[in-house]
């Protein structure tokens, strides 16, 4: 446990106290800061009310959650899809490049602990960004009324999805000693995850299409976005995270017997 925490501590500090993190956080905040108020005012204009004068639930079927927050969430998702691999890129590939990997492999520590320590360190850094993004709708709640549980449920799904991206990023990082390659692979794998289930609905085989539906990320995200925290969806995210962490652990172990 202490070894795991030691590893976590080191990797968290290396990722968090890094100019890259602050650049990315600054970039995200400026994009959110530019887009969010504009969406909010547009909503207020269309709904015919000022968000400062009355409650957030405007008339005419307009809903602050669907028009403002969902778009803020998809923007957050889009940004993080590219940023998470940037945070995870160094975790293993740089250790390989700088040969510090030798230290890890000859130290009395299991590769499972290495992987878990690194994963949670990167995940903690990613969650800082998710929390930053969460601040925007939360601040809105000071002058607008809306159903906050819906928002929390939606953010929970984003947090879980980021866990998946972090695990994918860690896996891509373990594949090569090139930092750039691991970023690209991370982005490609993350995007590909959304297309795995494509075409599942077209099949006549009910088993096939139901399996494909379960594998579809958007099905699970929809549940959360509608405020249903379904256990099978939570399990789905944990399975995908576990799968990629397991793969990473296998890749690390493989360097004990592979030729190159």
């Amino acid at each position: 446990m202490r070894q795991f925490f030691n590893q976590f501590n080191k990797d968290f500090k290396q990722t968090f106290f890094n100019p890259v993190f602050f650049m990315m956080a600054g970039l995200c905040c400026s994009i959110w800061g530019f887009v969010f108020p504009r969406k909010l005012f547009e909503f207020a204009r269309v709904a015919g009310v000022s968000p400062f004068a009355q409650g957030g639930m405007g008339g005419g079927g307009y809903n602050i959650y669907e028009t403002v927050f969902i778009s803020h969430l998809s923007l957050t998702h889009l940004l993080l899809l590219f940023i998470v691999p940037i945070f995870t890129m160094r975790l293993i590939s740089e250790e390989k490049k700088l040969r510090t990997f030798d230290l890890l492999l000859t130290a009395p520590i299991t590769s499972t602990k290495i992987v878990l320590g690194k994963f949670l360190a990167a995940y903690a850094v990613v969650l800082v960004l998710v929390i930053l993004s969460f601040l925007y709708p939360i601040i809105t709640s000071w002058f607008a009324e809306f159903n906050i549980t819906l928002l929390v449920s939606a953010y929970l799904s984003i947090a879980l999805l980021m866990g998946v991206y972090t695990a994918i990023g860690l896996f891509s990082s373990s594949l090569s000693a090139s930092v750039m390659l691991s970023v690209f692979l991370g982005i490609i794998f993350s995007v590909a995850l959304h297309f795995v289930s494509l075409g599942g609905q077209l099949s006549n085989n009910p088993l096939y299409s139901s399996v494909m539906e379960y594998l579809s990320v958007s099905t699970h995200l929809d549940n959360f976005f509608r405020g249903n925290i379904v256990s099978s969806s939570v399990v789905f995210f944990f399975i995908v995270i576990g799968f990629f962490l397991f793969m990473t652990q296998r890749v690390i172990e493989s360097s004990r017997w592979r030729s190159q």
Partner: protein, 323 residues
């Protein structure tokens, strides 16, 4: 003393079809300092990585203190400190913080971590850079940080892969002194291709070539063997003349004289020529008025090494270090 600390039995490691190490067996006794020699690509690093438990050999077994390293790797790795060719340091960490991290990684008991780090820092002389970023310290200090890393946890065995490579002569000397200081406290395997280093620090040498054992002998017995086969005298003079060389060649027992551009003549001689050979050589040089600066007779490990490992193929082969 006397107990085998490291036992390597018939270890073979293949990269694809090429064997980096083939059927290698040797053992190292507790407290011994062993020099591991070989040309580049001979399999030194691979063998060391196998002993540290970094890699699994294709065949054979490795025992550390009578325990198979692959049966209980975590426990055995605690007994080994390893300094790879490239010191495994994070340039964005402070020296101090890095050593604390390594101590945590090596499972040092929590209450001893601070004293461990303090004593290691003192031992390798890192005090001046303790609170500096690793990125900003000199190469010599980086190498020492690497050695400090290996020493943390007070391992019984130290495995040092080319610890002096790339250092300036002063730093090489310091590193060598450091290693000599560690003698007696640890069992040390030291790989290098700098032969004077081995002469200065090791009890015994193991020479491998193309993954196979060539010889393993104590330094003194090698020295004896060398003395039996040939004598080598080097003479430094102020002005070399063809005349002088001819005259030296005619001395009894001298087999060959070679001159190098910096006015050093190297004489090889039969062993049976008697102990007054040096005097006779000196006399000739002085009589010729060549200006004798230095005359020495040396045991050179280089000769042994060259004789044992000479192979044109090995030089041509492009060696890539496995990661």
């Amino acid at each position: 003393m006397g107990i085998n600390m490291i036992e390597v039995h018939n270890v073979t490691k293949k990269y694809g079809s090429r064997a980096a190490v083939e059927n290698l067996s040797f053992s190292v006794k507790k407290g011994e300092v062993v020099g591991f020699l070989g040309p580049n690509g001979a399999g030194k690093t691979t063998t060391m990585k196998i002993i540290t438990g970094y890699m699994v050999p294709t065949a054979g077994e490795v025992k550390i203190a009578d325990e198979d390293i692959f049966e209980n790797p975590i426990k055995i790795k605690q007994k080994i400190g390893y300094l790879p060719e490239v010191p495994p340091i994070y340039s964005d960490m402070y020296v101090d913080k890095y050593l604390y991290y390594v101590a945590g990684l090596k499972k040092c008991p929590k209450d001893t971590i601070k004293s461990q780090v303090d004593s290691v820092v003192e031992k390798v002389g890192l005090q001046p850079v303790r609170c500096r970023l690793i990125h900003n310290i000199s190469k010599g200090f980086k190498q020492r940080t690497g050695l400090a890393q290996a020493l943390i946890g007070d391992p019984e065995i130290l495995i040092l892969d080319e610890p002096t490579v790339g250092l300036d002569p002063n730093q090489v000397l310091e590193m060598r002194n450091l290693i000599s200081q560690l003698r007696g406290q640890h069992t040390i395997i030291l790989s290098t291709h700098i032969l004077s280093e081995v002469q200065a620090t090791c009890d015994r040498i193991i020479i491998i070539k193309e993954g196979k054992m060539v010889t393993q002998e104590s330094l003194s017995s090698l020295r004896e063997k060398q003395a039996q086969s040939r004598r080598r005298i080097s003479v430094r003079v102020k002005n070399v003349s063809e005349d002088l060389i001819q005259e030296l060649k005619q001395l009894k027992g001298i087999e060959d004289v070679t001159s190098s551009p910096n006015s050093v003549l190297t004489l090889s001689a039969d062993t049976g020529v008697g102990s007054d050979l040096n005097e006779r050589v000196a006399k000739v040089v002085i009589n010729k008025g060549a200006g004798l600066v230095e005359l020495s007779e040396s045991f050179s490990l280089e000769d042994v090494f060259l004789k044992l490992t000479k192979d044109e193929k090995a030089e041509e082969r492009n060696y890539t270090d496995p990661v």
